[in-house]
């Protein structure tokens, strides 16, 4: 048997410990892709939920700073006098910073988006509105004001937007809940993918596991090596997926800013705001990515450890 030609004598330099589970494999690359896609979807869902929740909060805050008194025209009554009387009653209520009655022209202008311009609305019984703006930090005693208005006028009603706020809040909560379920489903699917991948890598490295056992490695050591392997894959995949999700929000923010004022942009901005996630949103994406990577490592360690214990 011929010996291979000797290499030049050299004492190997100290270097970082080489992973005992080989890093490069087709299964490993596939798992990185799966983790990246799952993290991307989970981060999009979580970021979208945060945007909707934030926009909903802004809407509710804006709406809760206002209330409206509606004065309906009634036969035999002077609506201008009733509006003035209702405004007087409203001004007596505590906590209001401004009371702004809309005149007839303003009331008709509100109908233009539905009826168009150039129509003579003079003969229509159009209700008149009084906008009440709350002082900063103040709360409107809606029932008391409604009672006072009812006592003073038969045709005035108060709308403090509570019902609308309630529906808005329910819708936002539902969207956030759906996003939460999506995140959970994605993470569950990811967990299953990691479990399958772990078993596949273990099967592919059965000989390495055998050698490690024969040279005196404890199950804890072997499980830790697999954990390191999968943590590395998890960090690669989750970093890639989380980074792409953050980039997607950044690009969406830039695009909506660029298209601001356009026909479709208003609706999109009304629902999601400006796609500006802010530090909290990007922090959430980073947390999802890091959590995904850590969970990947931890789960593979648990699976390997249980499998090795089962070998007896």
């Amino acid at each position: 048997m011929s010996e291979a030609a000797p290499e030049p004598a050299a004492v190997p330099r100290p270097r970082r410990e080489v992973p005992l589970v080989p890093a490069a494999s087709i299964a490993g690359r596939a798992l990185v892709s799966v983790i990246a896609i799952m993290t991307f979807l989970a981060a999009l869902a979580a970021g979208g939920a945060l945007l909707v929740a934030g926009t909903s909060r802004d809407w509710q805050a804006a709406v809760s700073r206002e209330a409206t008194v509606q004065v309906r025209p009634m036969p035999g009554r002077d609506i201008d006098a009733d509006v003035a009387r209702a405004a007087e009653v409203a001004r007596a209520a505590p906590g209001l910073a401004a009371v702004e009655p809309f005149d007839k022209g303003q009331a008709e202008k509100l109908l233009e988006p539905w009826l168009g311009t150039g129509l003579d609305l003079g003969d229509l019984p159009i209700p008149r509105l009084i906008v009440l703006r709350l002082a900063p930090g103040a709360r409107l005693d809606g029932p008391a004001l409604a009672a006072a208005l009812a006592a003073a006028l038969p045709d005035a009603t108060l709308d403090d937007h509570a019902a609308w706020q309630g529906r808005l809040s329910a819708m936002a909560d539902a969207l956030v809940g759906i996003a939460g379920v999506v995140v959970l489903l994605v993470l569950t699917a990811l967990g299953l993918a990691v479990a399958f991948a772990t078993r596949g890598v273990m099967a592919g490295n059965r000989e390495i596991i055998g050698v490690l056992h024969f040279v005196g490695a404890e199950d804890r050591f072997i499980a830790r090596e697999f954990q390191r392997h999968f943590l590395r894959l998890g960090l690669q995949g989750a970093g890639l997926g989380g980074g792409l999700a953050a980039l997607a929000f950044l690009v969406a923010n830039l695009v909506t800013a660029h298209l601001a004022g356009g026909a479709g942009a208003d609706e999109v901005e009304a629902l999601f705001g400006t796609f500006a996630l802010g530090p909290r949103g990007y922090g959430a994406i980073a947390a999802i990515a890091l959590g995904t990577a850590l969970a990947t490592g931890w789960m593979s360690r648990a699976i390997v450890f249980r499998h090795l214990r089962g070998l007896g």
Partner: protein, 220 residues
């Protein structure tokens, strides 16, 4: 050190492939385990290494009944045994140096603490020039010596070698055997499984454990 009493082994419901094995391995002893191919030499080594459980009989290893050992205890005993596999079982993605250092690494020892020791052993087995090479580029003899160095790095009390000269030419086989003899003189009990009669005849005074017809005969 190792004691077998009426040990038998069968797979599933088949006939016994090893029966009524009774022998012992003394500390600092040297013996050949021999027999025709397929006689069960590797199986017997695996029983000694506790990677197989006997169907019947008693195996005592370092004074402890193997049947009562939990997994951690088995791991602890394996650290006192060096093994040279017939197919080497080196990890291809590690260098020769890293393969030899593996038993120390799995014990959590720092590389700086064992570096000089591994380098010295590699030079002793004649691989001082091949420390950075990976197994796929090593010759059969180099792989064999790397596997032997890995088995010796922990200074085992017992060395089990499965056909360690099976893949090398006669001069290298004699050189490897002298290496085992040197190890034996330093206090390690050695069991060498081989069917190379010519090699054994060069050491006719050595104790032989001969497997045949599923039984073991000891020639002192």
């Amino acid at each position: 050190m190792v004691r077998f009493e009426n040990v038998g082994l069968r797979y599933d419901m088949g006939a016994e492939i090893l029966k009524d094995l009774s022998f012992s391995i003394a500390p600092e002893s040297f013996q050949f385990l021999t027999g025709p191919s397929g006689a069960g030499k590797t199986t017997l080594l695996r029983l000694m290494l506790l990677s197989l459980k006997p169907t019947r009989g008693l195996i005592t290893l370092f004074g402890r009944d193997a049947a009562t050992l939990d997994k951690d205890a088995v791991t602890g005993l394996r650290r006192r045994i060096g093994v040279v596999f017939q197919d080497f079982r080196l990890l291809d993605h590690l260098t020769t140096y890293e393969n030899v250092a593996l038993p120390l690494r799995v014990q959590g020892r720092e590389e700086a603490g064992y570096r000089a020791e591994v380098v010295e052993l590699l030079r002793w087995v004649g691989l001082g020039e091949r420390m950075g090479a990976h197994p796929p580029v090593l010759s059969g003899g180099e792989k064999q010596r790397a596997a032997i160095a890995r088995a010796l790095i922990m200074r085992p009390e017992l060395l089990l070698a499965d056909e360690p000269t099976g893949n090398v030419d006669p001069p290298l086989a004699r050189r490897l055997l002298r290496l085992f003899m040197e190890l034996h003189r330093s206090g390690t009990a050695v069991v060498i499984a081989t069917h190379d009669l010519a090699l054994m005849d060069q050491f006719s005074h050595i104790r032989r454990l001969v497997l045949g017809d599923r039984r073991l005969t000891v020639y002192e």
